[in-house]
Symmetry: D2
Subunit: 346 residues, 4 copies
């Protein structure tokens, strides 16, 4: 079987389920443990019907087994409390929460409820491989990037890398996301009759992912997130106003320059057919990001579109991608699912 052993802490959540699916199909990993306090001893298929054929039962999170890589899919705040246990159990820890994404304690004071292990923030590596894969090789504490931040950074990164933007510009980011971002819990607002069919401004201002975007792109974005009718998917529309004139050729040069060799990026900018721009349902289930743009000469605006599956490129897929880089594996190992067509609102 696989060369490396892996475990998933927090296996009943949506992200935990996706990690189990990916690792189970990964040629280099053997999943030896998935933890859950509430569902201990139940099969993973009990929580995740697509994994009914997988022969694994949840075990107690207090009994962590030694593995090569531990993936933590726990709610924000848990990893910083348990990081010692995680690092005792595994040489490589990939945390999917926000606990180790930001650089400084001050940022956690501003955007979250502070941090209990600030001394580790300098050690951890943020994982958005297209942005910083060179930092991930051999890393032992990896903080996988957030979904809405990833969608936004993937859209804007080439403009910074190719000097179309310098950080002083006005940038409005209007994000549309699916209901899986809310996790498996669910209250009245996420019940099916209430959540179905909404265009709900669920983070009109002040979304925490602004901090990640600002930290990595050096720009203060005007950020608004809407919940729309889908389960998976995050689509970011970035309205950008460069200081000087920009041509379509400049844009193609920037985006091709940044992404043409990236295995998980597809440039989609106004060709023919039904899907002329990035579309979340076209990447559902995959680790791909679709990125495209349009020029609006009348108001000196560049409109950038990017689409990801928030559970994959925005979470579990990115975490596995980061682990592949960290361990020196083929980057696409275990991440080769192509997505479906036709497909509804996955």
């Amino acid at each position: 079987m696989g060369e490396y052993t892996a475990s998933v802490v927090g296996g009943t959540g949506f992200t935990g389920g996706e990690l189990l699916r990916l690792l189970n199909g990964h040629p280099e990993f053997d999943v030896v443990q998935a933890t859950s306090r509430s569902k201990a001893n139940k099969t993973v298929g009990h929580s995740h019907p697509n994994l009914r054929g997988m022969d694994l039962r949840f075990s107690d999170p207090d009994d962590l087994e030694s593995v090569d890589v531990l993936f933590a899919a726990t709610p924000h705040g848990v990893s910083m409390e348990q990081i010692d246990e995680f690092q005792d159990a595994a040489g490589t820890v990939v945390d999917l929460s926000a606990d180790f994404r930001l650089d400084t304690e001050a940022q956690y004071d501003e955007w979250y409820d502070g941090h209990t292990r600030p001394e580790l923030l300098a050690e951890s590596e943020y994982a958005l491989p297209e942005l910083n894969r060179e930092n991930l090789e051999g890393a032992d504490l990896i903080a996988s990037g957030g979904c809405n931040a990833t969608a936004t950074i993937m859209g804007l990164l080439p403009l910074f890398e190719h000097d179309v933007l310098d950080g002083s510009e006005q940038v409005v980011v209007d994000v549309k996301v699916g209901s899986s971002e809310g996790g498996a819990g669910g209250g009245e607002a996420s019940s099916h009759p209430e959540r179905s069919g909404v265009v709900r401004p669920y983070a009109p201002t002040g979304h925490r992912h602004e901090a990640e975007i600002e930290q990595f792109l050096g720009i203060d974005v005007s950020f608004t997130v809407h919940a729309v009718e889908m389960i998976r998917g995050a689509s970011a529309t970035c309205h950008v106003f460069p200081n000087g004139p920009v041509s379509k050729g400049d844009l193609w040069k920037a985006y091709r320059g940044s992404y043409e060799d990236e295995p998980f990026v597809e440039l989609v900018a106004g060709g023919g057919g039904v899907y002329r721009y990035p579309e979340p349902k076209a990447v559902a289930g995959t680790n791909k990001a679709e990125v495209g743009f349009e020029l609006d000469p009348s108001n000196k605006r560049v409109v950038v579109f990017s689409a990801i599956d928030n559970m994959m490129k925005g979470s579990a897929g990115q975490a596995v991608h980061a682990a592949n880089v960290a361990l020196g594996l083929d980057e696409t190992a275990g991440l080769d699912f192509q997505g479906l067509h036709p497909v509804g609102a996955p």
Copy 2:
């Protein structure tokens, strides 16, 4: 029955069906004719299943009957060709297409394919009653406002009426709309398997409704329209950057000042419960607009949300509202449906 006779030209389309539903339930109107060339002699219920109980058959559009009010629900370009026949048949013509919305031939040259009857543009009255109901009283040629323009204008109007904006500011408008905006025709892109679940940038730039917004608000907006998973509904998120400081109190004063006496406007700005901001599904089937806002102090931004049913406040409902004003009827006559809860993606 009703005091006034009415007809609907173009009765098989979605908008025509909504007009028939509204007029059929209107206390002051009798529907005496609905035209359709392709479905002549079929019942209106054949096209519109909700009207199966209505005793009316489509008749040929070449045989227009004389009525008090004629509603034209034909594609753009038809009304300007047939306006003489329409005005011969009816003292009051309410056109739901774009043919008489703009003021000048030059605008039609820029945004549409020119205009064949430009001399009528000065006579016609644009209908968005909250904006200009005083012009509508006694009007005999009314151009009912477009759906995306209506959603946007309803959101921004109080900021102009109360001098929060003067037209020099940066305004980004990010609109999400349902599939009924595409009309009853339908090709591959609007087939169910392809259209379901999309977040599709269908007008990344250059949407024609920019012209209406600019004409009536005097501001050049950066306008992008996305198709999302719903049938009815238009939700406009306006990202506004006022030149000077604005408080939440200023905003409440502006919006209450403009809208507190409006029968079809609901202010929804961050209270409790599941629906804290404007939500298209909460107004589906109604002529209501929900409008709300949030202040983002960190980037000096006001985010304005507005939600309408594109078939109603954005089309047939607004046309009936305008006719009510034109004839001096109770503005809400025939428009008292309250909407449904719970409701899905109507």
Copy 3:
């Protein structure tokens, strides 16, 4: 205003909200009270966004006001405990739960958890006006019929009234319902990510509505209920195997005989257009039932289709209809909404 006063006990639930919407728009009723223990003093619009414009706050259920008609929209088991208070408060009580639908205590022992006031079962009148409107005139305790039972009875009733069936036949009823049937509570199974897009056999066998069907039609049906992707709606497909030969003419005669004068029934059996058979979305928001059928000569089967809005004809609409009959009002008063087209999965 209205001639009669009305109250709604249990006003925050989905059914309570629909009752408030209907009574608020009803020409003969004034809503004087809506109760809720948990939301006391909040506006009804807090729970039901479509009622944001309604000037009413929830009040404590312990302080019932005297009204002409009290509508109880409480969970099963509550009405039987509080029926004395309800009857003290109102001359006419319309209960929307199952507490007074069945005839005998033995049935409650078999299908529910027994009954605490069995002596009232003989007094209460089941309300499915097309079945037994004559019993409802002047009734003071009315048990409004259940949604799945109503859909099924509406489909099968003409076959019994016109002797196509005698009760000895094999009848399979396969029902598809929307998520509003589960009520406003909601747990993991009804969270949006889990509930979306299902075809879930939620009552494979033994659904309690079998008891109502058997009681009123005198036939033992094989009954299975599936949850499908919609919010409102119940669609019953009845596969019927008559003992002798049946022609299409026999069927039309039976269905026309039973329903041609019914104000809320539409016969839809295989005509032209897109909607050739009963369709729940065509009746969403209305009190209508669409009923149709098809003959399958190859296996001597009659397939009957019926579609209702479970919140309306299957619940709140039927309750108001019953109250109209009980008080001698126009049966359609307050129930004239025509439904929408196009419309999604309302």
Copy 4:
């Protein structure tokens, strides 16, 4: 690369796209050609956005290349006309249409529009590997089973294999399917506004797949198909009335006996968790069938549920599975996608 070459005739349709996806990820196949007359020279990603990364352009169907296996994803009636060209081009032809599924010309006269090459019907092998994999080894003309027939046969097969049924019983099959069954064409009835949210009896009686079911199970089923809100998926509910008593133990014995070693079958019959019975969305994108059952003692009924992805186990997946068997490959090669959780209405 792969050991075998393959081509797809009819590559722009939904089924053709799925074949391309599967073969592209299959370890033993190289896709050398995909044909399309209308889209010749366009990339396959133009039609199928999930395949944007695939380096292949459609070519003219008149220029078939020689391959080991040709998959025909053409509309019914095309393969029988072109079968000579197909067999000239490939040693193994897998046809996904109905053209070679039935045994006799008389059946094609009854259920379809006759047959032009009836002499080939005896040679072709129907492919539903769980039913008859032994016939498929080395087969050179394979007719992949139809989606609704596959769902039904998968549900009922164990009852025949283990003598719970003998073919004389009453069996009602009520199927719910997604919009992809209608193919990529699309007219008014399948436009998004009309098709969304329906529970539409699209084949109330007389569906052609009855012929397949009857041919392979020897029973005349009462068959009705409803279109519901999903894109992919077929869910069959079989209401079965055995002649004698049947226990739950008998059922488990039958289903385990038939399926416990099948790589693509999951038995799901009333355990815990959210997904207690077969659910199409749990198998979307996979070649799996979920099968389960429930006993209804009160009316001597067995209710059998089965769920497949109509594009996969009901079409392209089954075709690849059959090719794997025909060529002696690992049956699961190229078919190991596990499905997603959570997932909407894929």
